[in-house]
């Protein structure tokens, strides 16, 4: 188990060594990694009865209770299979898509790193291990988004994505620290036992808010969604793998994982309902105005993630089942659509929906894949998408209170999503082939096979949904709701209200596509709205923060040494003054004061005069001479009070300093001979003085 999780990291660290070899035609070999893992996880399914899970634990940081403990239950296995399964296809696709790229080895390294991190995250049982892997996914995502590092836009998007998800990670750590302290354990399984205690704890609300913040940032929920469309600057395999099928679902996974621990509280459910519901409408609405294929898909992904959050918010056993099915459905069709988009981009060099059409004539397998994905996306029977959509409607209808509003929201979102899917999956292939695209050719099999496999998988699962239910969905649902009832996925439920809703959705979407053409007016309104969008606010904040930081720095770090010294001295004095005024009693014991002899009095008067002179003299050399005088006076004080060694050292060093100073300052301007002579005289006079008094 440990090897399975770490294999991604191991491969990523070996790659720099074998990179040259890998860049050639052997890049397909990389596909073996996810394939092996996929088979391994498939082999775990039979050993996974509904109420049992496998736990493997390795010590890591014993003293702090942080173990590498991995848990395989239905939920994590579902995600692990998705990660490795889609990983196989993406790795294969990459070997052709990125052929000839100078840094292909690096790219594979990042992908393997990401896959390892993602697997570690979904399999971790220890919350801090989970956190570490969570952050690793953010970091590998940063590298992958910024892969085309010579492009400014790409670097900027990578930074934004890292900033948003990194902020989420910070909140996740806060939530986990609170959770771990209150529950007294870092194991999620053990936390389920103390769930009731956690829910009544006063810190429940802060934990929930922090956890939501983390999940929403990762899963691109409003108002933290804006990094995801930007992340589409990454190469298409990355968009497919990270930003539609797997990484963005990490937030969903987190919420699902903690539903048994913290869920079923009104605040929890309502927040999820509102945020998820709003996100899915908002993003679906935006999707239909976009022209770039990848942007359309990005917004429809956000919308789908909103739907998942929304279903988690409903929280009933039915809704959670719908969520699990929808995760699979979405991963299948969205990955297909992204891969199809990548092929179109790769072969034609454009992703503009207004230009693309008629491509079925030149790339039929891709067109079939796109069409299948669109069918699944739209929930048209007999695809798995239809099963998923049925479950969604059934769960919104059966929810307590506001059932109608929720159902209406879900239906509208699905109509808009259907429009978007037609735009992405059908439009580029339908109609007449424009003359500009006539030279387009069908790409090699490594490109068109993966989307086709995914599309067909959606169809097969639609016909035989029970493939999913027993082996994997049952245990997964059990992990969320221990007391879940038996269920059966069916393609055909007979004629009922849910079917009518599906029909309305499909008809609505097709009508919308037939009659609605986003005009310039709508775009202008959207541009206005953009000013108040979270993305813009974040940008404004970013810019102003930088201005503020610059000003603040120029106040604090102004480059003037005296200001620094003044600040330090002022605060030190203020501190000491405060302390001595509040705590210290100052008293002078005049009886113990030693008497003052006349020679001492003379030395001290000279000392005081020299100090004052050093301060007020305008000439540098006289100041140095005065410094020498002060040094000799201090030397004499040492002599008077039984420190002969100090006196000797002070004498030698003071002389040396003055000589050095004078030698250096000799080159400086503004030093008249009179001043040199005068200070020389003073120095000589003090030599005499010293000689005179030293024997006593």
């Amino acid at each position: 188990m440990l090897l399975a999780v770490l294999s991604g990291f191991i491969v990523a660290s070996i790659i720099p060594l074998i990179g040259k070899w890998l860049k050639g035609k052997w890049s397909v070999v990389m596909t073996m990694l996810p394939l092996t893992l996929f088979v391994y996880f498939l082999s775990l399914i039979p050993s996974l009865p509904a109420d049992q899970h496998l736990l493997a634990s390795y010590n890591w940081v014993l003293t702090m209770g942080i173990n590498l403990s991995f848990l395989v239950d239905g939920l994590s296995l579902l995600f692990a299979l998705m990660i490795t399964g889609i990983g196989v296809l993406v790795f294969l696709y990459t070997s052709a898509y990125m052929k000839g790229d100078a840094y292909l080895d690096r790219f594979y390294g990042y992908l393997s790193l990401f896959m390892g991190a993602m697997l570690g995250m979904v399999l971790s049982d220890n919350i801090f291990t989970l956190f570490v892997f969570w952050e690793l996914t953010s970091i590998s995502s940063f590298f992958l988004i910024g892969y085309k590092n010579e492009s400014t836009a790409s670097r900027k998007s990578a930074l934004i994505a890292l900033a948003v998800t990194g902020l989420g990670g910070f909140f996740l750590l806060a939530a986990f620290a609170m959770l771990g302290t209150i529950a007294g354990t870092y194991s999620i399984q053990e936390m389920i036992g103390s769930g009731d205690q956690l829910k009544e704890h006063p810190a429940y609300l802060p934990i929930m808010v922090c956890l939501f913040f983390a999940a929403f940032s990762k899963s691109a929920q409003f108002p933290l969604h804006f990094w995801l469309p930007g992340a589409m600057k990454a190469p298409t395999p990355v968009s497919t793998y990270l930003h539609s099928a797997t990484m963005v679902k990490a937030g969903i996974y987190l919420l699902a994982r903690f539903t048994p621990v913290l869920g079923n509280v009104p605040e929890w459910n309502n927040t999820l309902l509102i945020v998820g519901g709003f996100t899915m409408l908002y993003a679906a609405f935006h999707a239909i105005f976009k022209k770039d294929l990848k942007e359309i898909l990005a917004y429809s992904t956000i919308s789908a993630l909103g739907m998942l959050v929304f279903l988690l918010g409903l929280g009933t056993s039915e809704a959670l089942l719908a969520m699990l099915v929808f995760i699979v459905v979405h991963a299948l069709y969205k990955a297909t659509l992204f891969l199809v988009t990548g092929i179109i981009d790769h072969q034609t060099g454009t992703r503009d929906t207004t230009v693309l059409s008629g491509l079925r004539k030149v790339m039929l397998p891709v067109a079939i894949a796109g069409g299948l994905a669109m069918l699944s996306n739209s929930g048209i029977p007999p695809t798995i998408g239809f099963v998923g959509k049925d479950l969604v409607y059934a769960s919104t209808l059966s929810s307590e209170g506001f059932a109608i509003i929720m159902t209406v929201v879900a239906v509208i979102t699905n109509i808009l999503l259907l429009y978007a899917s037609v735009l992405a999956g059908i439009k580029p292939f339908a109609g007449k082939l424009p003359s500009t695209l006539e030279n387009t050719r069908l790409p090699e099999w490594r490109l068109w096979l993966p989307p086709l496999v995914l599309g067909i998988a959606g169809l097969v699962l639609g016909f035989f949904p029970h493939i999913l239910e027993g082996g994997i969905l049952g245990p997964a649902l059990n992990a969320l709701v221990p007391s879940a009832a038996e269920f059966h996925l069916q393609l055909w439920h007979g004629f009922n209200f849910v079917l009518a809703l599906s029909a309305i959705t499909i008809a609505g979407g097709l009508l919308l596509y037939r009659f609605f053409k986003p005009g310039t007016g709508a775009s202008a309104i959207l541009a206005k709205l953009h000013k108040t969008s979270p993305e813009n606010i974040a940008h404004l904040f970013n810019r102003n923060f930088r201005v503020f930081a610059t000003r603040w720095t120029s106040v604090l770090q102004n480059g003037y040494l005296r200001i620094y010294i003044l600040t330090i001295v002022f605060f030190l004095t203020a501190l000491m003054a405060y302390k001595s005024m509040t705590k210290v009693v100052v008293s002078v014991n005049l009886n113990k004061v030693s008497p003052l002899t006349s020679t001492e009095l003379v030395v001290m008067s000279i000392l005081i005069i020299a100090i004052i002179y050093a301060v007020y003299t305008p000439s540098r050399l006289s100041a140095i001479a005065a410094m020498g005088v002060i040094g000799y006076c201090v030397c004499l004080i040492y002599v008077f009070y039984s420190a002969p060694d100090l006196a000797m050292t002070q004498f030698a060093i003071d002389t040396l300093t003055v000589i050095l100073f004078v030698l250096v300052l000799y080159r400086f301007p503004n030093t008249s001979t009179i001043q040199v002579g005068r200070s020389g005289y003073v120095t000589v006079w003090f030599h005499w003085f010293l000689d005179r008094w030293l024997p006593s």
Binding site: R562, M627, A643
Partner: protein, 118 residues
Amino acid sequence: MEIILAIIVGLLYASGIYLMLRRSLVKLVVGLVLLGNGVNLLIFLLGGLVRGKPPIIPAMDRVLGEIYADPVPQALILTAIVISFGMQSFAIVLIKRTYIVLGTDDMDEIHTTEEEDD
């Protein structure tokens, strides 16, 4: 005596800091030296003043017999003097170098680490 010394220490501190706040680099180093002297005297004063009894064991004896000056503050000061000399000489050479390169010892004219364009 101790009272006057305390006043002198204060004076050394004040003038040292005052000189460090001046614009001239030379004055800055002079101020640093004065401050160092002030600190040394303060430590010396803290050890208690003993007149004419250095902590030196006569050749005949094995231990010190009568009251003698505390050697620990003296050892501290000795170290401080030597170290501050190292720092001062370094600073002095630095002043020279600055002056040769920039042609000024006015700190207001050299308050940037960036190279100037002219």
